[in-house]
């Protein structure tokens, strides 16, 4: 929450001293500098984080995580064995070696097969409702875990390479901070002397606080003030170095693939190390209505396989995996039936998500689909069940209740039930 001095009766002299003082303070803090915490050993507290790998467009999980060889829906790919207790696609060989740490939920069954509705539902656990905007994964988790990291100066919810779903009724202060995967944050250069910026900052905060108090124009003005405050913090923070994937050795970047998604995953690791509780990395291009097999084999899966396996391996080697949950999902999956254009269309009834790390059980496949992939044959799980499981894994109480702007109580993760197999 923002604190501002009460402007009542403040004399001009007083205010000037105030501004000069603030400038000096910011200046010296900057001059001294901080060093970025880069060693996992320094992370003494058991603070948890989550990384969502968002597959925009709806990836065909039957061709990746739950293959159906022998079925007429099976497609062109063969399954291979993994280090976990399940098989996955032959085009995911590097992930196959990491599957002892990750689990597949093969009994996802949802109802939203439209991109926008599905994206909203999978991100929030709620179906779209015109009268209320629900907060997305990142906003909820950042909101709940922020108190663990008082030193954090950069936004607690970062979206890399694409946008996420917004903060809904939690407010713009919990909106995703969207950056491109090259790590360059636009318009960050100060281009003016820091004292001058500080004077402007103080004046702007004073004027905005006054507008908020006097004008009675609703919450938008308050939110603007909160985001201004966050922006000033970030502009002068040495933690911004976490975005600079270019600082990583080339060998590390190559291991991740040194492409958009690979750099995004690498940035996610750096951000988690710096204390960011939620990072979402986007990989689009899964809306494969035609020519699905060459697209997956030659383009999508090699990129995914390399970057995702690098992330799991890297987090583990740094001792971060036990405190970081990785979630892989899209808004839905694709029809078991292969259409006339050698593609698959939208399908939400039976599909898979992947989750692991953060103390969740790895190496297992939860649930089963039928031999032709068209139905879930075990207890079906929903977006809210997966969300509840992730929250529980992060140590967030499932009794947590938010109050929407119109005063309605909203249970975290829409009262989803924990997927028992994943939590021992």
């Amino acid at each position: 929450m923002i604190r501002f001095s009460t402007p009542d009766g403040m004399s001009r002299r007083h205010f000037m001293r105030h501004m000069a003082g603030a400038s000096a303070l910011t200046g010296s803090a900057l001059a001294m500098g901080h060093t970025l915490k880069t060693h996992a050993s320094e992370l003494t507290s058991r603070r948890k984080s989550a990384i969502l790998l968002w597959m925009g467009g709806g990836p065909s999980t039957m061709d990746i995580w739950d293959l159906k060889p022998g079925s007429r829906n099976g497609g062109e790919f063969r399954p291979i064995s993994t280090s976990g207790d399940m098989q996955i696609s032959e085009h995911m060989p590097m992930m196959a070696k990491q599957m002892d740490k990750m689990s597949i939920v093969r009994s996802m069954s949802t109802r939203e097969a439209d991109h926008n509705r599905g994206r909203y539902y999978l991100h929030t656990g709620y179906v779209p409702n015109p009268n209320i905007e629900h907060p997305s994964y990142g906003s909820v988790i950042a909101h709940e875990l922020i108190d663990q990291r008082p030193e954090l100066e950069i936004p607690p919810f970062v979206a890399v390479g694409g946008d996420s779903v917004g903060p809904g009724f939690l407010g713009m202060a919990w909106a995703p901070f969207s950056v491109s995967s090259n790590g360059q944050v636009r318009n960050l250069d100060l281009n003016m002397d820091v004292n001058r910026l500080s004077a402007r900052k103080l004046a702007l905060m004073e004027l905005e606080a006054r507008a908020m108090q006097n004008d009675n124009r609703g919450i938008a003005v308050r939110e603007h003030l909160e985001v201004i405050d966050k922006t000033f913090k970030l502009m002068t923070s040495p933690q911004m170095a976490a975005f600079k994937v270019a600082d990583e050795p080339q060998a590390v970047r190559d291991r991740y693939g040194d492409n958009g998604f690979g750099n995004g995953c690498l940035m996610a690791r750096r951000l988690v190390e710096t204390g960011v509780p939620f990072v979402e990395v986007s990989l689009g291009g899964w809306d494969n209505h035609q020519d699905i097999f060459p697209t997956l084999r030659d383009d999508k899966l090699p990129v995914l396989d390399r970057a995702m396996s690098a992330l799991v391996e890297d987090l583990e080697q740094r001792g971060l995996l036990q405190d970081t949950i990785i979630i892989w999902m899209g808004e839905f999956s694709r029809t078991p039936n292969i259409n006339g254009n050698a593609g698959r269309d939208h399908w939400a009834r039976s599909w898979s998500c992947v989750v692991g790390g953060g103390g969740l059980n790895g190496g297992i496949a939860v649930g089963e689909t039928s031999a032709d992939g068209t139905a879930v044959e075990t207890d079906p799980y929903s977006a809210e069940d997966l969300m509840a499981t992730v929250c529980q894994g992060l140590g967030i109480s499932l009794e947590t209740t938010f109050t929407s702007l119109n005063g309605r109580p909203m249970k975290i993760a829409n009262s989803g039930r924990v997927i028992r197999e994943l939590i021992s």
Binding site: D8, R12, F15, D163, M172, A203, E206, G218, H289, N406
Partner: protein, 567 residues
């Protein structure tokens, strides 16, 4: 002055109370008769009817409307909503200096009909419609079949020439020809459908035409009956059948931006032994059963089943049916109301399905009917809304209407003006005008190209085939960073010789008037006492270097919520 009590309630006392009073006194001179009185004087019956129906709902809910907005606030609103930018100081002063009773009507007429504003007006509505029809990213990719320039050229011509709304929509639905300006068969209207017809049997065309022009959301019923509305899967495919004669043909190879051509060709019908005179399509129910569909409009009107274009041109028939539908006028009015008032009568604004009850159903019906009677003249509809009482209310709430907040999930009652962020394009154009950069801009095409480049930093696609996208221009950190440090603001606040601030600093205005000028340019009002004092502090901080102080003040004004919001 009735306003005193109201406004003082929100004040904290002391020096700020004085500031508030100063603000009031300053504005009192440009604040006159209440909107109620003004609008009941108005000769147009449509405006009186809007006022009657809207205020009827206030009474029903025990809401007291906010005070009327000041002339300065109202003027800024009208410029933003009609022509997409704030007024210049000169334009504002011209309006404030007009003491006639019908000055608001005169201003609206000027912005809509005076030649000097044709370009601004057409630019604004071209932007709004481009974003609606092809998205902010449509045509930006080299592989795209869309020519953004072609789409904009078509829209600009339509708005500049006052083409009636039904004619424009008819053209958008039935267009054929090339997307690219310069080709012999260029028809810019084709850009709307060019990337929506080839995949999934024109699923996107079906969805977009239904949603944009009829307010009907059919996309979910492609695969199954909708769980909570009247739409059945059969209806979706009957609607889809209208788009089976249209194809997009790429001109040149992928990536060379050669554009494309939208053509009509015979639809032979699907299945073994298809009969072109009964050109049928098949779809699959979730249960696995195959069913057939022919073109039938949402209201049950069937057209001929022949698949030959020369026998039955299905898109032409569809265009006729769409513009004749009562959903058509309601969808148009609802969207237009939403544009000016911040919220439509339904939420979302493009869902008029039977499950989504409008907040003011009678008014929606009435305005739809009047719009049709007015031969779908868009400017006439704009005039009714802009001169209505709810549009002229202050955005400051009172104790008896604070509950009227659609952000809280309430249906809108329009008892105060709903604060909203400027659209990215509005902010851009407003900054250009506020810093007088518009006086030496390049050609129209060059201006649009530069703006488009600037906009791309805020737009990101979602990686789906449907081209879904999102513009992160709603008060996020990247937006604030752009306002703090971006090129546009850097230029606006630049102290370089000959620049805006340099000219102001060395110009003839006395010191305090220079500060006034900045406030008028950005906020359409003068600074209050506190704000003047703040400016004075900056002047002293900079050892009386006025240009530096002006730069700081200008930065402060542009970064305040009052500039960024349409209020």
């Amino acid at each position: 002055m009735r306003r005193d009590g109201l406004i003082n309630k929100g004040l904290t006392g002391g020096g700020w109370r004085i500031g508030g009073l100063m603000l009031l006194l300053g504005l009192a001179s440009i604040n006159t008769a209440s909107a109620q009185r003004r609008s009941s004087d108005n000769a147009l019956p449509q405006i009186a009817e809007i006022n009657r129906q809207i205020s009827g709902v206030w009474d029903e809910y025990g809401l007291r409307p906010s005070e009327p907005a000041t002339d300065g606030e109202w003027c800024r609103r009208v410029y933003l909503d009609l022509i997409g930018r704030i007024p210049t100081v000169e334009e504002l002063e011209e309006f404030l200096g007009d003491r006639s009773r019908d000055r608001r009507e005169k201003l609206v007429n000027m912005l809509l009909y005076d030649e000097r504003y044709t370009e601004d007006f057409a630019r604004n509505w071209t932007t709004i419609w481009s974003n609606m029809l092809i998205g902010r990213t449509g045509g930006n990719d080299n592989n795209s079949m869309i020519s953004r320039e072609g789409m904009q050229k078509y829209l600009r011509d339509s708005f500049a020439r006052d083409v009636p709304y039904d004619q424009m929509v008819h053209e958008l639905i039935a267009a054929s020809g090339s997307t690219q300006p310069g080709s012999d068969d260029f028809n810019g209207a084709t850009n709307f459908l060019i990337d929506k017809v080839n995949e999934e049997n024109a699923a996107q065309a079906t969805a977009a035409v239904s949603r944009l022009f009829l307010g009907l959301q059919v996309q979910c019923t492609q695969c199954h009956n909708h769980p909570f509305n009247d739409w059945r899967q059969q209806k979706y495919w009957e609607m889809n059948a209208f788009f089976r004669q249209v194809r997009a043909q790429r001109i040149g190879g992928r990536g060379d931006n050669g554009g494309a051509r939208l053509v009509d060709q015979d639809f032979r019908g699907e299945g073994a032994g298809a009969d072109i005179s009964q050109a049928v399509l098949y779809y699959e129910e979730r249960s696995g059963y195959s069913r057939t569909a022919f073109p039938v409009f949402v209201d049950g009107t069937e057209i001929g089943r022949d698949g030959r274009v020369e026998q039955v041109n299905r898109r032409q028939e569809l265009a006729d049916l769409v513009v004749a539908s009562e959903y058509f006028e309601k969808a148009a009015v609802n969207r237009m109301w939403g544009h000016f008032l911040g919220y439509g009568f339904t939420k979302p604004v493009d869902d008029l399905g039977p499950h989504n009850v409008p907040s003011h159903p009678e008014l929606l019906d009435y305005l739809g009917g009047e719009f049709r009677k007015a031969s779908f003249n868009t400017k006439t509809l704009m005039t009714w809304i802009v001169l209505s009482e709810p549009y002229a209310l202050s955005s400051r709430m009172n104790s008896l209407n604070a509950t009227d907040d659609p952000q809280l999930g309430e249906s809108p009652k329009f008892s105060h003006f709903y604060l909203r962020s400027m659209r990215a394009e509005e902010l851009y154009e407003s900054l250009i005008v506020a810093t007088q950069a518009h006086l030496n801009r390049g050609s129209y095409e060059e201006q649009e190209r530069q703006k488009n480049m600037w906009l791309q930093q805020f737009t990101s696609a979602f990686g789906t085939d449907e081209g879904d996208e999102q513009t992160t221009f709603n008060g996020t950190i990247p937006q604030i960073l752009m306002m703090f440090n971006g090129d546009l603001i850097r230029q606006a606040t630049s102290e370089r010789d000959g620049g805006f601030l340099d000219r102001l600093a060395s110009g003839p205005l006395p010191g305090p008037k220079k500060i006034d000028y900045l406030y008028m340019a950005a906020l359409s009002r003068k600074p209050d006492r506190q704000e003047r004092e703040m400016a004075q502090i900056f002047l002293e901080l900079h050892g009386n270097d006025p240009k530096k102080a002006l730069a700081d003040v200008w930065w402060l004004v542009l970064n305040g919520s009052e500039f960024i919001f349409n209020h």
